[in-house]
């Protein structure tokens, strides 16, 4: 197999707070191949956003700090890069889209400027060419009357439109990797699908690999080649999308799937909720973090941490008693 585009190995990110050290990401490893779409799923607070921010080293520090692991991008460790290399990577070869389009654009600059700025930084174009590229990108993300809207400010756009602008910025420099952190969560349901389809389509067109972070399994089903499930700062299951939906190995994944309404759910039956609360990431008890909420937990689960092991073809799970 060719070299992986992104290879995250044993990433650990902690937050140093007054209340204690929060182990938000603990020993997380995954990879993305060129052009593929990987989904990273989990409840809010499970560390998936922190993972995505850690990859491009965008965490606010303090309190956040990457304390271990490697993030190999085409073989180079991002965590070892100096400022210049990092700036060349960010927005150039690897771009990112954030959750809240309402706050992700700078309110005091016209959107054209904000797109052109990224283009100028990476593609070394002059002002005019950069603006033309901005128009082209706005066209690509299907914002009508692109040239006229170039000089409009973010507050003159709706949420969905702003997220399109964010996509335009992210893809303007032909990145090989797009990290999308809950890109549709803040949008209206009707807009979500449009934006998602647009992103998917453009990623294919640009041959961009995508790391799609979401809590919505429906989004995963429609867009991802493979899925990683995170729980309490760790990856608990990794599998191709179809396998994961057909044969989830980890009890947490099973519970998640059971909580999703499906067309084949019998009428009148109740959706299963996951009992209990996600654990406190400061004082994690030894053993499997899911054990307190797990219907199948045994004594061993509470004593020992299950490693992520292959449980089936292309399928890995961190569970002593999978399926």
């Amino acid at each position: 197999m060719a070299e992986k585009l992104l290879d995250v190995q044993h990433l650990r990110t902690h937050f140093f707070t007054r209340a204690g050290v929060v182990k938000a990401v603990e020993d997380v490893s995954f990879y993305i191949d060129e052009g593929e779409t990987l989904g990273l799923v989990g409840e809010s607070g499970c560390g998936k956003s922190v993972t995505s921010l850690s990859i491009l080293r965008l965490l606010e520090s303090p309190p956040g700090k990457i304390v271990g692991g490697k993030v190999l991008f085409q073989g180079e460790d991002i965590l070892e890069m100096n400022r210049e290399e990092l700036n060349a990577l960010r927005g150039g070869r690897a771009a990112m889209i954030f959750q809240d389009p309402m706050t992700s654009l700078n309110p005091v600059y016209p959107i054209g400027y904000q797109i052109a700025e990224a283009v100028k930084a990476h593609l070394k174009l002059d002002d005019k060419a950069a603006m033309n590229r901005a128009v082209e990108m706005l066209d690509r993300v299907r914002i009508p009357e692109a040239r006229r809207r170039l000089n409009h400010y973010p507050h003159e756009f709706s949420g969905g439109m702003r997220q399109r602008v964010m996509i335009a910025i992210a893809l303007s420099c032909n990145p090989q990797l797009l990290i999308a952190d809950e890109p549709t969560t803040a949008l209206d349901v009707t807009i979500q699908a449009q934006v998602l389809d647009l992103m998917k389509g453009l990623a294919q067109e640009f041959r961009t690999a995508t790391l799609l972070i979401t809590h919505d399994l429906g989004v995963v089903a429609g867009s991802c080649d493979r899925v990683n499930v995170m729980y309490a700062g760790r990856i608990v299951e990794a599998a191709p999308t179809t396998t994961l939906f057909a044969k989830p190995a980890h009890p947490y994944t099973q519970a998640l799937l059971a909580a999703v309404p499906r067309s084949d759910t019998p009428k009148g039956s109740r959706l299963a909720a996951i009992g209990g609360q996600p654990p406190n990431l400061i004082n994690l008890a030894p053993g499997c973090p899911f054990a307190p909420r797990c219907p199948k937990a045994q004594a061993r689960c509470r004593a020992e941490l299950p490693p992520l092991e292959t449980v089936g073809p292309n399928q890995q799970a961190a569970c002593f008693y999978p399926y």
């Binding site: 937050f15 707070t17 007054r18 209340a19 929060v22 938000a24 607070g45 956003s49 922190v50 965490l59 606010e60 303090p62 309190p63 956040g64 507050h155 406190n280 400061i282």
Partner: protein, 376 residues
């Protein structure tokens, strides 16, 4: 466009409510409160990241869930060492300046003094803040006069304590005025809007153009003589206090109004309304108690402005008049004589500095404890 009501408190103003956009902070008095300033003092708060927010809940748990918000705030304040030290200093100064003079009058040896220098003068006399020992001018510290005497042979320590008393009295008077008026007008303006709100907006605009000191100077200059005629030597001070109060309360009212607007939208108010509570009841039972934090924080910081304003006006010769004592007056008297005895000016200066800094730091701590910034 709406910049969101919550920004009311942060000083950036909504553009369509008839106010000027300026934070309008009478900086001499309450500008400090602006949370933007306040957050800056707590390094841990400022770097809160989103993921740390989840921890907030856990912190609340460790603090004990049964605590009311006010109790929790007080507990936070209690843990703030700097604020506690400052509180101790303030309490010490207040208590000492009122209680100690009683004992001070009986402390010290009888001294040779009087007009001809041959009478025996007891401490009951020479430790009285208006008593002049004309043969003992600008004396350095001694057993009889721990901090020395001033240009009229008056005991400096006695005058300092009297000066602190004046500061505290003015501060108390102004704060009562400030809180009562600010609370009433602020709640009514926030709750009902309408003409009270317009009045508040206009009045605030007007007071923007009158910094505390300027307004107090104008009032003391024009009405001072009349007040002295009507109320005796204290008249000027009362007038100055009223003038300071008039410039300070709009700021308080604006904070209260902003908070009331936010509270009004909360569901528990809605619930109270649904269950048939009258407006009066909603205001008294649900809104006013929830304004405690913001009022306490604003008032603590207003005190700083008030104390410096009184000292400044007395310094300019428009406040307390001799033979009364005020820290500002003492500074001005001593300023005329820096070439003869520089140290004389240092006592009132240092006293005022300690008082003002202690209250400032306490106010800062109170603001941190009562208005912990949470990201929305």
């Amino acid at each position: 466009m709406r910049i969101d009501e919550s920004s009311e408190q942060t000083g950036t103003q909504s553009f369509n409510d008839g106010y000027s956009i300026n934070p309008g902070s009478e900086l001499g008095t309450a500008g400090f409160l602006e949370p933007q300033l306040a957050i800056a003092t707590n390094p841990l708060e400022t770097t809160l990241s989103q993921s740390e927010l989840d921890l907030r809940t856990q912190e609340a748990v460790t603090e004990g869930q049964s605590l009311s918000p006010i109790e929790a705030s007080l507990r936070r304040l209690g843990r703030d060492k700097r604020a506690m030290v400052c509180l101790a200093v303030i309490i010490f100064m207040v208590v000492a300046s009122y209680v100690f003079p009683i004992f001070y009058l009986h402390m010290g040896p009888n001294i040779q003094g009087g007009i001809f220098g041959n009478a025996s003068v007891p401490p009951e006399l020479y430790h009285y803040m208006q008593h002049q020992e004309l043969l003992n001018l600008d004396a350095p510290s001694s057993l009889a006069h721990p901090l020395g005497t001033d240009q009229l042979g008056r005991d400096i320590l006695a005058r300092l304590m009297a000066g602190v008393n004046v500061s505290i009295q003015v501060a108390l008077f102004v704060e009562i005025f400030d809180v009562v008026l600010g609370l009433i007008i602020g709640v009514l303006a926030g709750f009902f809007g309408g003409w009270i709100d317009t009045f508040l907006a206009r009045f605030t605009d007007l007071m923007f153009a009158f910094p505390t000191l300027l307004f107090a100077i104008l009032a003391a200059a024009t009405l001072g003589p009349a007040f002295v005629d009507a109320l005796g030597p204290q008249g000027r001070l009362i007038l100055v206090s009223i003038a300071i109060g008039i410039t300070v309360w709009p700021q308080m009212a604006r904070f209260v109004r902003g908070q009331t607007l936010q509270l009004k939208e909360q569901q528990f108010i809605e619930a109270a309304r649904m269950s048939g509570s009258s407006n009066q009841r909603i205001m008294m039972q649900h809104i006013v108690p929830n304004l405690f934090s913001i009022v306490v924080a604003a008032a603590t910081l207003d005190i700083v402005g008030t104390i410096t304003a009184e000292a400044a006006i007395s310094l300019l010769g428009l406040g307390v008049e001799p033979p009364g004592s005020s820290l500002g007056l003492m500074i001005n008297d001593a300023a005329q004589r820096i070439n003869i005895s520089l140290w004389e000016i240092l006592w009132p200066t240092i006293t005022l500095s300690i008082l003002v800094l202690a209250i400032s730091f306490l106010g800062d701590g109170v603001n941190d404890a009562f208005n912990p910034r949470t990201k929305d």
